[in-house]
């Protein structure tokens, strides 16, 4: 209760400070080519490591040996830099945004649906990429993208990217699925034993499906939905709900459900599939014919960080060829560092995940924050913003 009181007081203070510039609802909403982020300076030069670093990461991104003693790239970093690392993981992008607002974390692995919100709110600051030597080896097509930079100013270092795949039980789902209709078709043979991602951003998966199956709706970008398109996507998800056994945001809960056979198919991360497979369950994944939503993640530095030298050292460490290769292989995604491809245990890893394939990467619909101004360039209609996506998600779950 005390924490709540302090938190409320903090929110009150924060609110008072910004009320004048943000009054009128959509104050921070983007203008023509985005929005104007708060003017924050990037770090000029590195100092002495501060001895501490608090990392906010997707599960599987900052492994310190606690999940699997063999999987550990945090301890070598601690030994090398003297920065003692504490790791906190999160299950959805929204969680990462909320946690970053506390100012308790120094670096965050932000997906595209979090990064711009963090930049706009002034929670993260520009990154001086000259201080990250390994930045030079990062694939060019990942640099200076709308989700990691604003008007040419870099806000982080690219980490890696991948697609949300369709996971399924190989012993129960036959023939192997090739389409998302396994989870959306009302006559799906797996109905009642499906799973779906518990976040408003999952509406984009339904929109992507409709993009291919109901072309007359005219969806061009699953994150830019006008009233009619949005209603269609929400209706599809409402129709899907009775077929869903449970929604997941904790990847371990999904893994357990797949293992026990309570869930036979559904959207998943490759790391979940690898983990479940590793425990001996007959589980596999496929990238369905409709394409998929996905992520392209960026390591960002908190504007309130007191450990910036350690933060920069961490960014350099995590995209170093050796570490980037380990993370990419463990999580099941494409590394950002070109040189990582030579260092993976499975030499075909980069081919498998199309690491250097800019063309393939462009076909994945990366998580992006939906805003009122349509992201697909339409000017004549208003699109649904993330607030409305969130409200709709509550309604879908009922």
């Amino acid at each position: 209760m005390l924490a709540l009181a302090l938190f409320s007081a903090g929110a009150l203070l924060a609110a008072c400070g910004t009320a004048s510039e943000d009054s009128g609802g959509g104050g921070g909403a983007p203008t023509e080519n985005g929005f104007s982020p708060p003017d924050l300076p990037a770090l000029e030069k590195l100092g002495e490591p501060e001895g501490e670093l608090s990392v906010l990461a997707w599960p599987g991104y900052a492994e310190d040996g606690s999940t699997d003693p063999e999987i550990d790239w945090v301890t070598p970093f601690e030994k090398e830099t003297g920065c003692k690392v504490s790791v906190k993981t999160f299950g959805t992008s929204d969680e990462s945004v909320t946690l970053m607002k506390t100012g308790d974390y120094d670096v965050v692995s932000a997906s595209g649906d979090a990064s711009l919100r963090l930049i706009a709110a002034g929670d993260v600051e520009p990154v001086n990429t000259d201080l990250v030597p390994n930045y030079a080896d990062i694939f060019e097509f990942l640099k200076d993208k709308p989700w990691n930079s604003v008007s040419g100013v870099e806000y982080g270092t690219p980490h890696g990217w991948g697609a949300n795949v369709l996971a399924y039980r190989t012993d129960q789902v036959k023939p192997a699925p090739t389409s998302w209709s396994t989870v959306f078709d009302p006559n799906s043979p797996q109905k009642g034993k499906l799973t779906a991602y518990d976040s408003p951003i999952y509406i984009a998966d339904a929109a992507l499906y409709l993009m291919k199956h109901q072309p007359d709706l005219g969806i061009k970008n699953p994150y830019a939905l006008d009233d009619k398109q949005f209603t269609a996507a929400v209706d599809l998800l409402k129709q899907q709900k009775p077929m869903v056994s449970e929604y997941w945001s904790d990847y371990l809960k999904e893994s357990q459900a797949l293992k026990n056979g309570d869930v036979l198919a559904g959207t998943a991360w490759q790391v979940t599939v690898n983990l479940t497979k590793g425990e001996g369950s007959p589980v596999d994944s496929v990238l369905p014919s409709e394409g998929a939503t996905g992520w392209s993640d960026t390591w960002m530095v908190s504007a309130k960080s007191q450990h910036k030298t350690c933060a920069y050292k961490w960014m350099n460490h995590i995209v170093s060829p050796e570490t980037n290769a380990q993370v990419a292989e463990y999580f099941g995604e494409s590394p950002a560092n070109e040189k990582a491809c030579a260092l993976t245990t499975d030499k075909t890893h980069c081919d498998l995940y199309h690491a250097g394939d800019a063309d393939y990467a462009s076909k994945i619909w990366y998580w992006t924050t939906p805003i009122a101004q349509c992201l697909d360039g339409r000017k004549d209609v208003k699109c649904k913003d993330y607030g409305e996506w969130t409200q709709a998600w509550t309604e879908i779950k009922g």
């Binding site: 009150l12 609110a15 943000d22």
Partner: protein
Amino acid sequence: MTALRGASAFLHRTPRLRLGVLLSAPLLWLGLAYLGALAALFLTAFWHTDPFTGKVITDWSLDNFETLVTDSVYRTITVRTVAIAAGVTVVDALIAFPMAFYMAKIASPRARRILVIAVLTPLWASYLVKAYSWRTMLSGNGVLHWLLDPIGLDTPGYGLPATVITLSYLWLPYMILPIYAGLERLPDSLVDASGDLGARPGRTFRSVVLPLTFPAIVAGSIFTFSLSLGDYITVKIVGGTSQMLGNVVYDNIGAANNLPFAATVATVPVVIMLLYLAAVRRTGALENI
């Protein structure tokens, strides 16, 4: 030293001040940390957030309450939550009464002590461990399926029944203990007298035992009802796709980062509990807690 002694003598002469100083710490705690937080919560409920950056904007409006009342989904969730809480309370009362009766009236003093400890033991285990155990047991190939399959039944799977079962298990001790205490206070002579006057056991139960222990049952129900009303973890673990009021609050803090609306939703269980407490005050149950 003399100053300290002087202060002590002064306090000794002014008992009212002494009382005030003694009570100030707990009163401060109650007033600031507890009621203050509730007040802050209620104030926040009237604000809203910037949809893009998620910052709280301190404009006063009733929009949040309007959404809460007009959007049918929140009514559905409120009704579902109250139904779950009521279901858990009924299930717990039905299980707890015979157990408490056996403990208070039939068991030997030695067995009584062992039983009280046995009832309390589950409280030593972590909430999450117990909820996840139920998740495993309720699974499609879990122990419930294995037990019920031979008699033609099956596990309810994840959903509302699973939520009610798990919550009933979690809060059962909070129902048993007040009823046990209530039954212990019931003099055996009254039960004997009822029998001597020719009442059958059923009649004795209805006319003597139940009316005298009813306040204790209601006291237990305050625990089971309020604990269920605010729960959001069990339903996440065994509830399948369903959600309760607590989940809406949680999602608005965690996912939507809409603190004001979360505060608005959080006022609903507070109001329900106030109504409930006002209703049970008449039964005298509050003296039984």
